[in-house]
């Protein structure tokens, strides 16, 4: 056995992760090789030094604190429930937007062909009405967005309160 292999085996030997034949081969080599013997002792000393470090125990009350923390987390609503204002707002906006779009489109289809056939001025008038109704939906949309934003803000405040209140140290 050469020294390179022996140096690798030293670690496995000290960790009891080596079979009998390899262990004997290493012992044979080490008995005739002072530098590998020295390396063996050095690694062994190092291992013992780490093993002799004191085991630090968890502070008093650790179990209770941990269980308290777990209970706090459990009491929190599941995430889909916690996010319901956001989710419901999105659904409301999408439904509203679609309704308005369909309605406007319907109106457009109803108004436009007749208007074009009847008289151009009627068409112009109807388009004006349509534009106004679109503006109304814009105002409604902005109003809803504002409410949604306020709800989101409220939710944020509630959540930050929930995080800071159970002080687990």
């Amino acid at each position: 056995m050469n020294c390179t292999i022996a140096r690798k085996l030293i670690h496995l030997y000290l960790d009891n992760e080596i079979d009998g034949a390899a262990a004997r081969a290493l012992e044979d080599h080490a008995s005739g090789c002072p530098s590998c013997r020295a390396e063996f002792l050095a690694i062994e000393r190092l291992a013992l030094a780490v093993e002799s470090l004191p085991r630090i125990v968890a502070p008093a009350g650790f179990t209770q604190q941990t269980m308290y923390m777990i209970a706090q987390h459990k009491r929190e609503q599941p995430s889909w429930l916690r996010n319901w204002p956001g989710i419901s707002l999105t659904i409301t906006l999408v439904v509203l937007g679609l309704t308005l779009a369909i309605q406007s489109w319907d109106e457009f289809l109803q108004v436009l062909p007749d208007a074009i056939w009847d008289s151009p001025s009627d068409a112009l008038y109807n388009l004006l009405v349509l534009a106004m109704s679109l503006e109304v939906s814009l105002v409604v949309g902005i109003g809803l967005l504002t409410i949604g934003g306020l709800m989101g803000l409220l939710q944020l405040i509630m959540r930050s309160n929930r995080i800071t209140s159970p002080a687990v140290s």
């Binding site: 690798k8 670690h11 992760e17 030094a49 780490v50 004191p54 125990v57 968890a58 650790f62 179990t63």
Partner: protein
């Protein structure tokens, strides 16, 4: 025959108070491991609690019969490796040495303490992945197999990493010793020059 861990885990799925039993059974091992990984008592406590919380949440997914400890270490190792060292290291608290052998003279005891302090500091200087194998092997006494499971790496990698980690540790200890003797030399020269 089911192990105690298995029984406790099955119980804990229904009854949270059984989980407390599991926590108190493993808290010291976990805390010491995380303290040696982070070098800070506060971090060790936070990460140990986080580990137990994650275990609790994953109880339903735990397969009965598979060993509990590698699973626990796996979660803890991930937390410790991804954790950025934010807090100042806690070092040299008297209780850290409560289990230090007090045989012999006070000088010998002080020397042993100092040696332990040096080793702890050198371990802190290792890259996290190497620090983990050294601590798991020599403080938690895990086998190569268990280390491979905990770190989610092949057995061959465990061997190589442990080998390199020890050589690195040796090198750090040598460097630190040289640095401290250089300091002492410097200090003694200063006192010498101020005397003359």
């Amino acid at each position: 025959m089911p192990q105690l861990d298995d029984i406790l885990i099955e119980e804990a799925k229904e009854d949270p108070s059984a989980f407390a039993e599991l926590v108190s059974r493993y808290q010291d091992r976990l805390y010491n491991f995380l303290y040696r990984m982070t070098g800070s008592r506060e971090d060790a406590q936070d990460l140990a609690q986080e580990t137990f919380l994650r275990i609790y949440r994953a109880l339903a997914r735990f397969r009965q019969g598979s060993p509990f400890t590698p699973w626990m270490y796996k979660i803890a190792v991930n937390l410790a490796i991804n954790h950025r060292k934010s807090r100042r290291p806690t070092a040299g608290l008297e209780e850290d040495f409560a289990s230090t052998n007090r045989d012999g003279s006070p000088e010998e005891y002080a020397e042993r303490r100092e040696a332990q302090q040096r080793i702890h500091a050198a371990i802190q200087e290792l890259p996290a992945a190497y620090r983990a194998v050294v601590i798991l092997r020599h403080m938690d006494e895990l086998s190569y197999d268990e280390i491979a499971q905990a770190l989610d790496i092949p057995l061959g990698t465990v061997k190589v990493r442990l080998h390199r980690a020890r050589l690195m540790l040796q090198e750090k200890l040598k460097q630190n010793r040289q640095k401290s003797t250089a300091h002492e030399l410097h200090d003694s020269q200063k006192t010498h020059s101020s005397l003359s």
